[in-house]
């Protein structure tokens, strides 16, 4: 059974701190790893990672994938209160050409002003 594990489950930091969120996975047919940010409602897409060692960046957020050790990290620098959210990691494992995303339980990030 495919598995995605995120850590920590929750994290509380002060504004301006840097945080690192972790995602490890065990899947039978890895295609890509995706990060989502979920505030009050639907998840919104952040990054899609398919190759090891290539950092993706978007403003203060960055992410990297290690396909040998089967994990990814999401970094947020100079955190702001608007970064408070649940961050979801999902892995696309696609054995027969059909879509299958397995999600982790998420990391709840709270930024204190």
């Amino acid at each position: 059974e495919d598995k995605v594990v995120q850590s920590p489950l929750s994290l509380v930091v002060h504004e301006g701190d840097t945080v690192t969120l972790n995602c490890s996975y065990e899947v039978t047919n890895f295609r890509s790893l995706l990060w989502y940010k979920q505030e009050k409602k639907a998840p919104t897409f952040l990054f899609m990672l398919t190759s090891s060692g290539i950092e993706k960046k978007s403003g203060r957020l960055s992410s990297i994938l290690d396909k040998k050790e089967l994990f990814s990290i999401l970094n947020i620098t100079a955190t702001q209160t608007g970064d408070s959210a649940i961050y979801l990691c999902a892995v696309d494992s696609n054995p027969f050409g059909n879509e299958k995303l397995t999600f982790g339980t998420g990391t709840r990030l709270t930024i204190i002003p």
Binding site: T44, L88, N98, T105
Partner: protein
């Protein structure tokens, strides 16, 4: 584009009642999905569809049915509601490019369903 829209936003059902959760996307996406999210848990795939007329079960399909008669619409039907189906339901869509590999999914705003 409105993206992915879902109705209703909230619903309370009594045990044994039936209802249909509506999902529509206007991005001409071929893939559509239904997920449920329970408190403190990740998203779990209920059903998905790779195109009009083609649907398949996900991880937790029991108690649900779907149909995909058009590219735009992917309704989720609960026939005999049970308290275990109390959850937040998300519909999503994506466009699959042959040979490109993976792609991001666009999510609707969710439907909060309570079964009592």
């Amino acid at each position: 584009n409105a993206g992915v829209t879902q109705t209703p936003k909230f619903r309370i059902l009594k045990i044994g009642q039936s209802m249909t959760l509506q999902c529509t996307q206007d991005m001409n996406h071929n893939y559509m999905y239904w997920y449920r999210q329970d408190p403190g848990m990740g998203l779990k795939l209920i059903y998905y569809s790779v195109g009009a007329g083609i649907t398949d079960k996900g991880e937790v399909p029991n108690g649900y049915n779907v149909s995909r008669s058009t590219t735009e619409d992917f309704p989720l039907r609960l026939e005999l509601a049970a308290p275990s189906q109390t959850s937040v339901y998300f519909c999503a869509s994506s466009y699959y490019y042959e040979g490109r590999g993976s792609y991001e999914q666009y999510f609707g705003p969710g439907t909060r369903l309570t079964v009592t």
